[in-house]
């Protein structure tokens, strides 16, 4: 039970890390020069080499990992303690695109058929590949993003959707490690939240990949603004 959870947390965190790097590269958030090709799941992923960016990603994902360990298995396909990880890409203080990783967890306490995680790896590889070509799915590259001098907001962030109680815990613990989490202003991010009533500015959704296997159900999708 516990080792399985840990393995699952490891696998998902690892994937999201690779995916974030891939997104940053594909969408041209940072200049291509700071990326170096690496191999992951038998495919090429361009990884960012800037230490501060990497620190931000790693520390954020540490939290994701800890949340994944707390996912309960209570006989249902639940939206557990970690529901969604979102990577909004911003330009001139407003969000242009959001990459979403929506997670659900099948009710099993261990892998039964796929002992060597071959299927899991296969599906993660295909998801990564899809992300690496996702620039054809959305608008032309975000040229202005590369011009960092104009930016007065970070070009990307990592949003984690979790339960209220977990969020409260989180702020408490992480402050000690010097990496605080803050609750986002719903006004600013409202169109990315599932809980908001579908009112103004519905996003245009482009599903990138749906994964469903013994370990997890994940939907990777790209949300863009419907009207500019």
């Amino acid at each position: 039970m516990e080792p399985f959870k840990e393995a699952r947390a490891d696998v998902i965190t690892e994937f999201i890390e690779a995916a974030i790097h891939s997104i940053l590269y594909v969408r041209g958030v940072y200049p291509a020069a700071i990326f170096k090709p690496r191999r992951k799941y038998g495919t090429t992923v361009h990884m960012c080499c800037h230490a501060d960016i990497n620190q931000y990603i790693i520390k954020s994902l540490k939290t994701v990992h800890s949340l994944l360990l707390e996912v309960r298995d209570n006989g249902l396909l639940i939206r557990g303690s970690l529901e969604k990880v979102e990577i909004p890409l911003m330009s001139k203080n407003s969000i242009i695109e959001v990459f979403q990783f929506i997670l659900k967890f099948p009710d099993i306490s261990a892998i039964k058929n796929d002992t060597y995680l071959l299927e899991v790896e296969e599906s993660l590889r295909s998801a990564l590949l899809k992300i690496s070509i996702s620039d054809v799915l959305c608008k032309p590259r975000l040229q202005e993003l590369s011009d960092h001098t104009q930016l007065d907001s970070p070009p990307f962030t990592i949003l984690v959707h979790t339960e209220k109680s977990k969020a409260a815990n989180l702020t408490h613990q992480q402050e000690e490690e010097g990496f605080p989490w803050i609750q986002v202003n719903p006004q600013e991010y409202d169109h990315t939240s599932v809980f908001q009533p579908p009112t103004r500015n519905p996003m245009k959704l482009t599903p990138i990949k749906s994964i469903s296997n013994e370990m997890l159900q994940m939907e990777v999708q790209l949300a863009t603004k419907e009207k500019e």
Binding site: D114, S193, Q196, P198, K204, L205, K209, S210, S212, Q221
Partner: protein, 807 residues
């Protein structure tokens, strides 16, 4: 004589003839037994040979085997298994003395005294739907009555039916009469009322053991004695004898509908079986139902109540919520009002009333528990906590058997323990909404307001009693009857429904054929299926057609059906009084959208199906009238191209028109399905007069490929299958898709959204778009647009976004 026996049959024919000839050799002198053929089973006295001689002498027949010619079986002793076998033939099993005595008397004696077992009384009775049984009904019966007898009879006896129809009647009554009713006292100016203190004054009135106390009004001798109301026969012989013949009360499975407080002291509870109850209290007296009286009493109750307050919520025929906030200033005053209300009701109806009152609905209801019998109780705010602690969770509204079990697993049996459970925990187990409600209820918090006017969500008829079919046609004819009942109810309430669902109770595989409760439904699986309509309807013809086609889709084994119900959902209001046929409303649209050339084959086809559906139903003159009316309607509806509910078989294109290449492209299970449909149709063709069908339609929908292959981790194959289906679907209907198939496709896509497989939804729709674009047909484009609109709405609701697919 050398014979070449071609087969067994001819051998038997000759043999039987020979035996018959032998018998005729025995010259008879009397005709006592003319028309009687006996078969002797087992040891008898006198023996079989003697009996044979006697019976042939007196003009009867003798059979060596149990054939259909046999009218009487002669035996002295038979095991049950054999009786069952014999009962198939419906021949009587008689003692040999019957023959001897008949001969002595010189005439054919009635068999009653000699019957070993009367087949009909011993095993469970069947309700007959077959035409022969109808003919046996007396000639003075009006013909409509004959056809509807079962449903009518059922509804005139069913207790639940009465109660439920009254509840809706009473609700209507109160909402109609409330504004008009004269009030006993004037409303206080709002500043003075209880509301000033921020509380509501809610009273919950409940008649004490309603059925019993009404029954006791006319039976003063039974006061103070244990009494129960039930269908079962009373020991004094007073009551209903339609049921339980030859079964002693001790084994009776009839329910105790209501019992007096004296009976409750013996441990008898409502809903207990009569057998159980009588074991607990041998002196228990049973009285029958008296529905008219109950009705009158609850009418009086409500008439009285509405003179007291303008806020009244009827709960059932003997239960009502009243709010007094605007009339009284203190709880003492309210107590006095309740007292006078109770005495007025008791005076008018002769029934005792209990009342609980408090500051919200929940507490008022719970207070009534303590008020009973014949008392009143005010649950004040200070007492709430202590009172709730002792209250078992089961008495909270909305907690049934399942939830109670769930709670007891958590170690919770009363509200005090329920308070200990945290809100997140409750939400986790029972879902966010129910969890929160429980959390509040445990603390005596209830913010609900009295609902004086309730809107109906659905309207339904259901019968779960006495259902024993042999033929599927019997089930269909019952559905027709139920549809009529449903139509009349829809007319009474003035609504139209745009969705029809069929509910079936199917005997569980392990459940016994004969149920413990007499003609009950026993353990069952509930299955249901519904069909969306394009045009709202309340016409019984429409309803029954849909219901029957749904029944065909579910194709249950007729002998396993234990209950059937039809519900009309998604209601909209209509003019009361006359049924609105879907077809009539479609008329204008039909004229606008369809060319006259297209309509003739469609109407021809529906003629064929109408002829078929009328078969075995009404006979003679009524058929022709019905037929014309139906055909006219079909003409308009079928021409519209979207309301075709005929049996799927009739919609199949002729086999010759089937594109073989498409068929071969289908996965093997689908191919089988297609072949299966065709072979079924061939069977049908023999009975159908004219299965004209020019318009192809999807027999069994191509969708969905089973969703399990998706979760088994092969999304690519799944996607490819889906694409194949879409292509085949479009190729099969060059003229445009059937509404039904589009609906199925939409449902399929929605179930994919449920599974979070948004990618596949989007790719499937893109494929659909491509295929539709490649052909030039407006109908398909419209269908695509419709599907996309629905899916986009669905996605918007869940993800707050639209899929990026071509509109």
């Amino acid at each position: 004589m050398a014979f070449d026996w071609e087969d067994h049959k001819s051998y038997m024919t000759v043999k039987r003839q020979k035996l018959q000839d032998q018998l005729e050799d025995v010259e008879g002198d009397g005709k006592i037994f003319s028309g009687v053929t006996i078969y002797v089973n087992g040891y008898t006295k006198p023996d079989a040979d003697t009996l044979k001689e006697i019976i042939c002498k007196h003009g009867g027949g003798y059979s060596y085997a149990l054939t259909s010619r046999v009218s009487h079986v002669i035996a002295t002793n038979l095991p049950t298994a054999k009786i069952k076998a014999l009962s198939i033939n419906s021949s009587k099993v008689c003692h040999p003395d019957w023959i001897l005595d008949s001969v002595n008397a010189g005439s054919l004696l009635p068999t009653e005294k000699y019957e070993l077992y009367s087949v009909s009384s011993k095993s469970q009775r069947k309700i007959s739907f077959s035409p022969t049984a109808k003919k046996e009904a007396g000639p003075e019966d009006p013909p409509t009555k004959k056809d509807r007898s079962f449903v009518d009879e059922f509804y005139s006896h069913s207790r639940l039916h009465h109660l439920s129809t009254w509840a809706s009647e009473l609700k209507e009554f109160t909402s109609k009469n409330l504004p008009r009713a004269k009030r006993k006292f004037s409303m206080l100016s709002s500043g003075e009322s209880l509301r000033r203190f921020g509380v509501k004054g809610v009273v919950h009135l409940d008649l004490d053991s309603f059925f019993v106390s009404v029954g006791l009004r006319d039976r003063p001798g039974l006061h103070g004695q244990p009494v129960a109301v039930t269908h079962a026969r009373n020991k004094e012989g007073e009551a209903d004898t339609t049921e339980v013949v030859g079964v002693s009360l001790h084994q009776s499975m009839s329910d105790v509908a209501s019992c007096s407080y004296e009976a409750r002291d013996f441990g008898i509870r409502n809903g207990m079986s009569v057998g159980e109850a009588i074991n607990l209290c041998p002196s228990l007296t049973f009285i029958p139902y008296e529905f008219e009286k109950y009705h009158a009493v609850s009418q009086t109750l409500y008439e009285t109540v509405i003179t007291y307050s303008h806020l009244v919520e009827p709960v059932s025929c003997d239960e009502v919520f009243i709010e007094f906030s605007d009339y009284v200033t203190s709880w003492e005053e309210l107590g006095d009002i309740v007292k006078s209300l109770r005495s007025e009701i008791e005076e008018k109806t002769g029934c005792k009333v209990s009342a609980g009152f408090s500051h919200n609905l929940l507490l008022a209801r719970l207070a009534t528990r303590k008020a009973k019998p014949n008392g009143q109780f005010h649950l004040s705010e200070e007492e709430v906590e202590g009172y709730l602690k002792e209250t078992p969770v089961a008495s909270l509204p909305g907690i049934g058997r399942k939830m109670k079990e769930e709670l007891s697993k958590m170690g919770v049996s009363n509200c005090g323990e329920l308070r200990e459970v945290s809100l997140p925990k409750l939400r986790e187990v029972f879902g966010p909404k129910t969890g929160y409600t429980l959390y509040c209820f445990a603390r005596g918090i209830d913010n609900r307001d009295l609902t004086t006017k309730k809107e109906r969500k659905s309207i339904s008829v259901e019968i779960n009693y006495g259902m024993r079919f042999e033929q599927i046609s019997e089930a269909e004819s019952l559905l027709t009857q139920l549809s009529e009942e449903l139509q009349s109810r829809a007319l009474d309430t003035g609504v139209l429904g745009s969705s029809i669902s069929l509910k079936l109770k199917i005997r569980q595989k392990t459940a016994p054929q004969e149920t413990k409760k007499y003609l009950g439904h026993g353990r069952c699986d509930n299955i249901s299926r519904s069909q969306q309509l394009h045009i709202p309807t309340n016409d019984s013809g429409d309803i029954s057609r849909v219901a029957i086609s749904l029944l065909k889709q579910l194709s249950p084994n007729p002998s396993d059906i234990r209950g059937m119900g039809i519900a009309l959902n998604k209601l909209s209001s209509s003019v009361k009084g006359s049924p609105v046929k879907g077809g009539k409303m479609a008329d204008i649209r039909t004229l606008m959208t369809s060319s006259p050339g297209k309509r003739s084959p469609a109407s021809k086809r529906s003629l064929g199906s109408v002829l078929k559906s009328e078969r075995g139903g009404e006979e003679g003159a009524s058929v022709s009238v019905m037929r014309e009316e139906r055909v006219e309607y079909q003409n308009t509806a079928a021409g519209d191209g979207c309301t075709s509910f005929e049996s799927a078989m009739l919609d199949l294109p002729p086999a010759s028109q089937l594109d073989q290449s498409v068929l071969l492209a289908l996965p093997s299970d689908l191919q089988e399905e297609v072949f299966d449909s065709y072979s079924k149709r061939q069977d049908k063709e023999r009975v159908t007069l004219e299965p004209v069908s020019t318009e192809p339609s999807l027999a069994n929908p191509l969708f969905p490929p089973s969703l399990s292959s998706l979760s088994n981790g092969n999304p690519e194959r799944f996607l490819n299958e889906t694409r194949t289906h879409i292509k085949a679907w479009v190729a099969l209907y060059p003229a445009g898709p059937k509404e039904r198939d589009s609906t199925i496709f939409i449902q399929f896509l929605i179930s994919l959204i449920d599974l979070n497989a948004l990618e596949i939804v989007s790719l499937s729709l893109k494929c659909f778009h491509r295929v539709v674009q490649s052909i030039t047909n407006e109908k398909w484009r419209e269908a695509y647009a419709r599907v996309v609109a629905v899916i986009q709405d669905e996605v918007l609701m869940r993800y707050n976004g639209h899929l990026s697919i071509p509109p």
